[in-house]
């Protein structure tokens, strides 16, 4: 098993340790806005445990995916609500 996983965040390549969550990958990519609220506010993870729903991003085309509950896989394509 490799020590790191390579994936794309908003089209940019990111490398994270094996076992890291997609939320980590977004943070490592330097993106602080995971999603845009109803009135356009920037939001990012709060609870870290899949309850607050602020960490939602699009993963491999699947929207509204909770990034803090998803383990990074090689080649994943993650898009935040820019």
């Amino acid at each position: 098993m490799n020590d790191s996983v390579e994936l794309l965040v908003n089209g940019l390549p990111v490398s994270v340790p094996t076992g890291a969550t997609v939320a980590t990958a977004v943070a490592v990519a330097g993106v602080s806005r995971f999603r845009k609220s109803v009135f356009g506010q920037p939001r990012s993870p709060v609870c870290g445990m899949g309850v607050c729903m602020e960490c939602r991003v699009t993963i491999n085309g699947k929207m509204q995916s909770r990034s803090c509950q998803t383990i990074c896989e090689p080649g994943m394509e993650v898009c935040t609500d820019a």
Binding site: G19, S32, C47, G50, Q69
Partner: protein
């Protein structure tokens, strides 16, 4: 999607300490036991990432015990409904799962209590336990300047954990007064089960400012938190920071219990001596019956696991230990009560519902949670009232009164299958 059907004697929802202990105990009977968890991990919140990076001896011991049993472990299995008696419907990446049970043990743990204050929705404002879990999964905290605030033992335990990843703490601000907090921790330090954590907390406190009777007033910043203002009621401090880790202790995850119709008592699941709820053959262990921490949850889990599998004499052997943890539960609740100022930090403009962007002012105009929900959509968004509902209970003494399936966001296919099932 394929849909699958399973049958077990005993099903346990939640693979944290309580669930793992319940599974191990129930498995001693030789009956078929299933342990479900919504996440891809075992250990719940408090033992998160122990499979990746072992660090807690107790977690390692119980995980090893679990692996030595014949318990069926189902991760990424998210309970979304109870379509029929003794049947639950869960979502799994491979498709919906219909799971039949004779006895059910709810071990759904707790979540942090978030209360609104100006700036609480800014990126970088997180829960302390949440940040600890995030750091375990690689969230960059090394060199970050963090203010910790709120209430409860979590502030110290989580901070000590996060510090190992290189975070710098500017202040840990506990809202409870020192004359309550100090005796509690002195008492805690005498419990052997808590002793393991104490040295690392003491070491952290030797270099981090820990204040009592101090609470957050506001967080400010452009697109993320850049500074936090705290007060002791007399003077204010504004600290420039990268993150604010703030929560006000824990609230029990009682959604599955509510969906089943279990009676609650002051927001917790009501259980008898055998940890059976008001619904026959449904048991509950750990935090949903009272916030007590992981060691308390382990005892609860064993009692529930033994009782659900008709090994009552083994359960009786745990009763004295359970009684001692009940006292700890009461002490903790009494120490970290919220001061009145905490309930008045938010202004009318502060958002209460984060999912639907509903301000506190709009919600306050309504006489009841139900009316506010119907008119403003507060509590109807993605989190289904888990965050704003818990806050509302503190601010207004009313909040989520009922839950509806799907209990968590689910794919249409999973629900369609449920409708077709006979």
């Amino acid at each position: 999607m394929r849909d699958e059907s399973f049958t077990f004697d005993i099903v346990i929802t939640g693979a944290g300490p309580a669930g793992i202990a319940a599974a191990c105990a129930a498995a001693e009977s030789g009956q078929h036991v299933a342990l479900l968890d919504a996440t891809p991990w075992l250990g719940g919140q408090v033992w998160r990432a122990e499979q990746l990076h072992p660090s807690e001896p107790n977690a390692q011991k119980w995980l090893a015990k679990l692996y030595g049993t014949r318990v069926t472990v189902m991760d990424q299995t998210n309970v979304i409904a109870f379509p029929k008696e003794k049947v639950l419907l869960a979502e799994h990446p491979s498709g919906p799962r219909e799971i039949h049970w004779s006895k059910l043990i709810l071990a759904t743990g707790a979540r942090e209590l978030f209360l609104p204050f100006p700036g609480w929705t800014l990126p970088g404002v997180v829960g302390p336990a949440g940040l600890h879990v995030m750091a375990k999964h690689g969230w960059p905290v090394a060199g970050k300047q963090i203010v910790v605030a709120g209430t409860g033992p979590l502030l110290l335990v989580a901070s000590a954990g996060i510090k190992k990843y290189g975070a710098e703490f500017l202040m840990i601000a506990e809202q409870a007064p020192r004359d309550k907090v100090t005796p509690f921790f002195r008492h805690v330090m005498r419990q052997p089960a808590c002793a393991a954590k104490i040295p690392e907390i003491k070491q952290m406190l030797s270099s981090v400012s820990h204040r009592c009777g101090v609470w957050p007033v506001r967080a400010d910043g452009q697109d993320r938190v850049e500074r936090v203002t705290l007060t002791d009621g007399t003077q204010n401090w504004t600290l420039a920071c990268d993150m604010l880790a703030c929560s006000f202790h824990l609230v029990p995850n009682v959604e599955l219990a509510m969906a089943l119709g279990c009676e609650l008592d002051a927001g917790f699941v009501q259980v008898d001596q055998r940890l059976q709820t008001s619904i026959p053959d449904v048991f509950c262990a750990g935090e949903p019956t009272g916030i007590g921490g992981s060691d308390c949850a382990l005892v609860d889990g064993q009692v529930a696991g033994y009782c659900a599998s008709d090994q009552v004499s083994k359960a009786d052997a745990c009763m004295e230990e359970r009684a001692s943890w009940q006292r700890f539960r009461h002490d903790m609740a009494a120490t970290f009560t919220l001061r009145d100022e905490i309930k008045h930090l938010a202004t009318d403009d502060t958002l209460l519902c984060r999912c639907e962007d509903v301000s506190l002012g709009r919600v306050r105009q309504h006489g009841s949670w139900r009316s506010a929900k119907l008119e403003t959509r507060c509590g109807m968004g993605a989190c289904q009232g888990r965050i704003c509902g818990a806050a509302s209970h503190v601010l207004f003494d009313q909040g989520m009164e009922s839950v509806r399936p799907p209990l968590m966001p689910a794919r249409v296919g999973a629900l369609a299958n449920a409708a077709v099932t006979d």
